[in-house]
Amino acid sequence: MRTNYRINSGVRFEMLSQDQLQELFDGVLHVLENIGLEVHHDEGRDILKNAGAWVDGKRVRIPQYLVKRSLEMAPRSFTIYARDGNPKHDIHIGPGRAHFGPGPTPPNFIDVETQERRPYVKDDARIVATVVDALPNIDFCESLGTISDVHPDLAASYEFAEMFPNTSKPIVAWSYGWDDSEDIHKIAVAEAGGQDAFERRPNYVHYCEPLSPLVSTFEAVDKLIFAARHRVPLIFTPCPLAGGTAPVTAAGIIIQAAAESWMGLVLAQAIQPGVPFFMGGVLSVMDMNAMILSYGAPELALMMAGATELAHFAGLPLWQTGGCTDSKVLDEQASLEGSISCFFSALTGGDLCHDVGYTESGITGSILQTVMMDEAIGYSRRITRGIEVNEDTLATDTIHNVGPNGHYLYEEHTHRYFKTEFWYPNLCDRHNFEEWEAAGKTKMRDRVIERTRDILSSHKPSAIKPATKKAIKEILEAAEARVKDKQ
């Protein structure tokens, strides 16, 4: 036993000081109390007013005490459960735990067979879910696209219905509004075994997106109300562009995004005290030349790190962003931008890091990018796991055994640790030139494509219950009937 001995488990990363975080925190409170946001939802405004917010037309201002009380009510640690009870697929949200997954809604997808960019179709949701289910470093699922080959109002319903049977990793569900949110929830509840069972073991997270600057849209609020009423863990995540729809400075965009997100926090906690809530915000720059929201900019990683520290300071988990790129193809740029944001995200411990697999600045989803980033995340996680220091890892006895001019390959110590101390790549090639040559001189992209195809031809996700299969069919039939007369 030692006294006064401190252990750093993993790599420590800290950007902002407590003083700076307090200043950001006070900035958010100031925006919410003095500037306020527009809330385009009558019932939402009523709920906020009853909770203590000041409502003036559409403008809603929230006093500091109410924000602080809402922060108190939201949990910092909780679990999102695998639908099949596989504990390896559960996600434990809490300090120091970073999780990764794809993102929602790009219109296009990179075809796995042809590598061509084309509209996202229904079967792509199955492909994404199956690959996500198999990848060791991807923890949750999103679709990487908006289904184009079904009735437009049902894109989200079909998306969830395709993904749910093909992965038991928790899904972050996106939807347009109340009706498709309900379709999604019914599927999840059917598998969980009823609403009560779902509340005890929630198996998906709901995603709502308000508008920057400072607008809670009707759809975002409607979806939030649905999720909160049904006790679905939820994300309220704006997508501000620094210099466009948010201040150009990192500190400025962080407080605006937090204010936009915490409007959702206050509303959700007013409806359902204690409902798990992720602070959101995809924070990046509007490129002043290309006029895009950059998903590969260093400022994205930086601003997201600041937002993560603020969320954790306030006691909330964060919806992180990483593994994404502005590149149009699976190339060196995609690898560079994606890997660095993954590593940075892993360092921050941002709780759910999404958009792993976004390319072309979020316009095209690519499961190939996700597969490549799975490697970058594994790599990052080995580093963030850090160095374990104890009597056994110091290995003085083993050093003594081997002595000068010996070797460690026969040592029990080596055998005990070589698989856990070292990270082994799935995609990075470490063979010597001759072996690499003999294996076909493959490039990273070749191996990414091959691995993706291997997974798709061999991976079998665990099955959903037969009753859920039946429920999905009925839910989709009812949904079709609902929209059959709509254009």
Partner: protein, 213 residues
Amino acid sequence: MSEIYEQIATGILEGNVPKIPELVQKALDEGLNANDILNDGLVVGMNEVGNRFKSGAMFIPEVLKSAKAMHAGQELLRSLLAASGAAQTGKIVLGTVQGDLHDIGKNLVGMMCEGAGFEVIDLGFNIEPEKFTEAIKKHQPNIVGMSALLTTTMRAMGYTIKAIEEAGLRDKVKVMVGGAPVDAEFAERIGADGYGHNAVSGAELAKKLVGAA
């Protein structure tokens, strides 16, 4: 096919160093032929080790443990195999060349070659050309293996081959070379008979050079 062969092969695969001599002895006690124990048990296991290593399912510390177990089994069979007139795999003289003190790679090759059934005479490191020629005269190996890690010392491999030629011993031995900076082209240029890019391929090359693979 006796069940014991399968146990021996599994023991090799697991790298079970204490268990293998026990199993080999048991097989001998059952009256099984030494040559069959080698080929249907030990070699079957070691071949599978090679396959698994190449596919990435086994790692070098595990392979070496298997090689050690293999060696322990073969030691027990050696005199019997010699008496029965069965061909031995061969004898190898190994050394890191003059000026170079790096020997983990060479040691690995030695361990793998022992696992492949060779008798290995390890000269150590920083071995002058004359020491190699003396060792050839003394031990009469089938193969001489040389290793170097440094680009500055790899040239000593060429000098050593020249010394072997000048001593009139070149046609008596095969020469194999290895080490991080060495490649097939270099091996050919200095007149070696082969090059292995790692310990496993080194042992395979050795078997090939003596016609055992």
